[in-house]
Amino acid sequence: MPVGQDGLKRVLDAFEQGDWDEIHLVADDVEVHLVARGADSKVQATSHVTAPEETPARTTDVAPSAPMTATAEDATTVVAPSPGLFWRAPSPGAPPFTDIGGHVEEGTALCIVEVMKLMNTLPAPVAGTVVEICAENGEQVDTGTPLFRIRADGS
């Protein structure tokens, strides 16, 4: 059954009555994208412009894996220890753990790699300055994908 006028109309009615910020559906040959007036970050979230909505809501009690690192050109590269999703903040809306130019101590949390509901917080392997952030917030990364480059203090 192709999506008919009926279905579209019902979605519009529901959207007007509901308190939903945004709806984005694709069925058959129809794409529906509705954004409520006054809706803010959520819209941006699902349009993939800035920080996605997904919340690293809880960290688990599994010990974080030590991040794999690789040193090149005076900077230490922090890579993803597993496939997963790269999150720069502890929770959505929260400020990022760190940013370019930021200084970190050895062990300072850099980011979260989320894999199948498991939140893996990656600590900085060295004290130093973040010179590059190599992945986008929310990006799907693979094992070994570079995430951060940190110039160690005194190097």
């Binding site: 059954m1 999506v3 008919g4 009926d6 279905g7 579209l8 019902r10 979605v11 529901a14 959207f15 509901g18 939903w20 910020d21 709806i23 984005h24 559906l25 694709v26 069925a27 058959d28 129809v30 529906v32 979230a45 699902t46 993939h48 996605p52 909505e53 997904e54 919340t55 599994v62 010990a63 894996s65 597993s82 496939p83 997963g84 999703l85 989320e114 894999v115 199948m116 509901k117 498991l118 929310g138 799907q140």
Partner: protein
């Protein structure tokens, strides 16, 4: 009317619901996130609607997305599967508001059954045993009184606590006074709140649950029990039906308690009532109600022949159950193994990636519920369940023998899985002897198995030039 069902879930349970729709002759419309558009249920369902990005909060957990998807595609019903929005009263209410049938109980039943405190109150009113416990204690004398009443060993717990902190086991009255003082100090320093309470410490427990189905015409039946004592960090790994290690008389009373509770909830749909059985005392206590179909429902299907998901669809359509309590016969024994994309050798870290090989075993009494196929990329966004292997035998021993062979024949490559663990587990003397309690996997099985695996791995490395 239930003619077009929006399947608001993913993975193996989406496949299961799509299949039940096919069996019932109704159209299935899969609500899929962007990450699941190429998944097997998306290929097998009659239609597909994309409800949002990979992130579950913006797709599978978004009530607005699910409701609008149902409206857009003209669905008259929504099946929520398990997890995600399956126990979310808001989805039920929104369905009602838009004239869509929710395949499950009412919002009210979900609220009263799903909330642990409310459910415990209800159970108390029905004289269903609750975990032996106490209100906060003030003095050592009060503690001694209560401890004597609930029976040693007891557990002192911080009222404000959690995660094991401030918890203290006491085996005999002589140790009680000292333990109360220390536990209170610990609780005070940890939580700024020194209040304690006392519970009987169940040393050997089994997790037993009862599968119930209730139609909208007032018929409630139970389909026997399951034993889900194989757990790691409160996650079930293996489930069996029936719970044949538990004495018959106790199981009868547990079944009655489950039906009483469900009936008191004015429940309509499939539900499970969970209990903890104290193996040493032959007593049971109520844990909670699950107001949805459960991961482990196939073991019950295998021993009763009842198709629980089809009955869910029938119930939602207002039809009577297709059988009566008197028709239910539990025949043989079934056991289910959860095949997770996890590395048991590395602390069970998830292992997404591409399934280079996915070759499940085939056999008459072997059932594999899964959404996987060779070449499937297991996405990192969702949980790690790849599928379930269920084996049935006329006896428990036959089921275990069959399972051992089926697990050996189950061929997966590309991601790590829990299969190697299950292959050892199914042959363990404690499993064969049916001597499993809820702490067995973590306290008895895993430490030895992990050490063994590490030793084997070292030996293999040493043997490699």
């Amino acid at each position: 009317m239930v003619q077009r069902v929006l399947v608001a879930n993913r993975g193996e349970i989406a496949m299961r619901v799509v299949r039940a729709c096919f069996d019932e002759g109704v159209t299935s419309v899969l609500a899929a996130s962007e990450a699941d558009l190429d998944s097997l249920p998306a290929r097998v369902a009659d239609e597909v609607v994309q409800i949002g990005p990979a992130s579950a909060t913006a797709s599978y957990l978004d009530v607005g997305a699910v409701i609008s998807a149902a409206l857009l595609t003209g669905c008259d019903a929504v099946h929520p599967g398990y997890g995600f929005l399956s126990e979310q009263p808001e989805l039920v209410e929104q369905c009602a508001r838009h004239g869509i049938t929710f395949v499950g109980p009412s919002a009210e039943s979900i609220r009263r059954g799903g909330d642990k405190i409310a459910a415990r109150e209800l159970a108390r009113g029905l004289d269903i045993p609750l975990g032996a416990g106490s209100d906060a204690i003030d003095t050592v004398e009060e503690a001694a009184d209560l401890a004597a009443r609930v029976g040693y060993p007891v557990l002192l717990k911080a009222a404000a606590g959690g995660g094991g902190r401030g918890m203290r086991r006491v085996d005999a009255p002589a140790q009680l006074a000292d333990a109360v003082v220390r536990a209170r100090a610990e609780a005070q320093s940890a939580f700024g709140d020194g209040r304690l309470y006392i519970e009987h410490y169940v040393e050997h427990a089994r997790h037993v649950e009862v599968q119930v189905l209730a139609d909208a015409l007032g018929t409630t039946v139970h389909l026997g029990d399951r034993d889900c004592s194989y757990q790691r960090r409160y996650q079930k790994l293996v489930e069996e039906a029936p719970a044949s290690a538990v004495p018959e008389e106790l199981r009868r009373r547990i079944g009655e308690a489950a039906v009483a509770l469900i009936s008191a909830l004015d429940y309509v749909g499939a539900g499970t009532v969970e209990f903890l059985v104290d193996v040493d005392r032959d007593t049971f206590s109520f844990l909670e109600v699950n107001t949805r179909v459960q991961v482990e429902h196939p073991v019950t299907e295998m021993v009763t022949g009842v198709d629980i998901v089809r009955e869910q669809l029938r119930i939602a359509a207002g039809k009577p159950l297709s059988f009566a309590q008197g028709d239910v016969r539990v025949s043989g024994h079934a056991i289910e193994f959860r095949i997770n994309a996890e590395s048991p050798d590395r602390g069970f870290v998830p292992s997404p990636g591409e399934l280079r090989v996915w070759r499940p075993p085939v056999g008459t009494d072997v059932r594999v519920d899964s959404h996987c196929f060779a070449g499937y990329r297991v996405p990192p966004h969702y949980d790690s369940l790849l599928g379930k292997l269920i084996c049935r035998g006329d006896t428990r021993d036959e089921a275990l023998d069959l399972a051992a062979r089926a697990l050996d024949a189950f061929d997966v490559a590309g991601v790590d899985t829990t299969l190697p663990l299950h292959r050892e587990l199914v042959r363990h003397p404690d499993v064969r002897g049916h001597r499993i309690t809820t702490r067995w996997v973590e306290e008895s099985f895993l430490p030895l198995w992990t050490a063994d695996r590490a030793r084997t791995a070292r030996a293999e490395r040493a043997a490699t030039p």
